[in-house]
């Protein structure tokens, strides 16, 4: 099994979840109110009430095939709007 970590602006959350649901991932977890800095932007907590909002951190445990299937869509979302995606190994308990 793999673990996919996605971090991006919460404003794109619906689009990303759409992508996940279309690929029929077994599940996902969303943690909002993340802040941070990337190559393009600084996201701070004090700005959360404005129209910019903060980041969402999405974790998906799923098989490699599903990731391959979603790769293009996720990459297009993230390249357009910003954000990062990393894969690592994970074993079910």
């Amino acid at each position: 099994m793999k673990r996919l970590d996605l971090i991006f602006s919460e404003r794109e959350l619906d689009a990303i979840i759409n992508t996940l649901e279309k690929a029929n991932v077994p599940g996902y977890t969303v943690m909002k109110h993340a802040t941070g800095r990337g190559p393009e932007r600084v996201v701070t907590e004090d700005m959360e009430f404005t129209g910019l909002g903060s980041n969402a951190h999405v974790i998906v445990f799923c098989e490699q095939e599903l990731i391959d299937q979603m790769r293009a869509n996720i990459k297009s979302d993230l390249s357009y709007y910003g954000g990062v995606a990393y894969i690592s190994e994970a074993t079910p308990l």
Binding site: D46, T50, G51, S76
Partner: protein, 332 residues
């Protein structure tokens, strides 16, 4: 005579709380108003100002001045972004120019609220229908900004899936803060119409609490504004000058339009403040989604870090002086 109103403005609690918020950042105090508390106050202020505005509009009815003023307000929010765009294009690409221009064409509800408090402090009357102007000026600038992107930069864009007219309208009219303000206005109107006894039951929440909540929120806004300042440096001096002179320029247009509309001094100040203020709620939300090519730090740092504080602390009394100079006192 010109310093006096500024000092008077600065010594009012909302402005003082704004200043201590800002100062806490310069002194590196760890004072913090954690998320989502600022959102609570932001939602509350929009709800309360909309509700009270709706009641006032219903009470005063549609007088002669209402429709021309609302029309002029919409017009201003269409013209200002065009002017802003032309100026910004000297230095910035289409995306950034359009996004920043849209922010300055739209409005800041808290600046409007501060101007109301200023007028109340000076015992100058103003009308409830000006909240209608506030509500109507939030969206059009977004549409202008997105159309500017659509037509000025059609080929640069790798991916313009979000730029259908329907999504432009969606982003501009159904943005959370636009929606809350507008629908609270309608609820206030309906309540005053069909359920006047409910007005007094709402009054402690939307009325009496308002001034204190405004102070609390401005404390946070002071923190936020001061935290934007460092990133303004990166933005360059052109943008810094823009953030101060654009509101002054817009206030000048505004005051002549107000004179043309024969607005009283209170309404005139509010009209000028709407022209001079810039959005940090609805516009950034819309631009982040539809024009991701624009750097959000540009349009947020200028509006929040400079234009907002400028208007709150210096702008409002300056505009009042302008109004008093340029608009003749109404007969009577």
């Amino acid at each position: 005579m010109e310093i006096n109103p500024i000092l008077q403005n600065v010594l009012a609690p909302p402005v003082l709380f704004f200043l201590i918020g800002a100062i806490s950042i310069f002194f590196k105090s760890d004072l913090e108003i954690p998320a989502p508390l600022p959102k609570l106050f932001s939602l509350y202020l929009l709800l309360a100002i909309g509700f009270k505005g709706g009641i006032e509009i219903q009470k005063s009815g549609f007088t002669d001045q209402v429709l021309p003023t609302l029309g002029a307000a919409i017009l201003m929010s269409l013209i200002i972004p065009l002017i802003g765009f032309l100026i910004l294009r000297y230095k910035f690409d289409v995306f950034n120019s359009a996004a920043i221009a849209a922010a300055y064409g739209s409005i800041s509800a808290v600046t409007f609220i501060s101007a109301e408090s200023f007028l109340e402090g000076q015992s100058i009357d103003f009308d409830g229908f000006m909240v209608g102007a506030l509500a109507l000026m939030e969206s059009p600038a977004i549409i202008v900004g997105l159309l500017l992107v659509k037509f000025a930069a059609p080929k640069n864009r790798p991916n313009s899936r979000k730029m259908h007219l329907s999504s432009i309208l969606h982003e501009s009219l159904l943005n959370g803060s636009v929606y809350l303000l507008l629908s609270s206005l309608i609820i206030g109107f309906l309540t005053a119409f069909s359920n006047p006894s409910a007005i007094s039951k709402m009054e402690p929440f939307t009325g009496q609490l308002f001034y204190g909540a405004e102070c609390f929120f401005l404390l946070d806004m002071g923190i936020v504004a001061a935290q934007r300042l460092p990133s303004l440096k990166n933005a360059g001096s052109f943008l810094i000058l823009f953030a101060v002179f654009m509101p002054l320029f817009n206030s000048l247009i505004g005051v002549f339009v107000a004179r043309f509309l024969s607005l009283g001094p209170g309404n005139a100040l509010l009209f000028v403040v709407l022209c001079a203020s810039a959005s940090y709620l609805a516009v950034p939300a819309a631009m982040r989604m539809t024009v991701p090519e624009a750097r959000s730090s540009y349009y947020i740092s200028t509006t929040l870090g400079l234009t907002f504080p400028f208007n709150i602390v210096l702008g409002i009394p300056i505009y009042m002086t302008l109004v008093n100079k340029i608009i003749p006192l109404p007969p009577m």
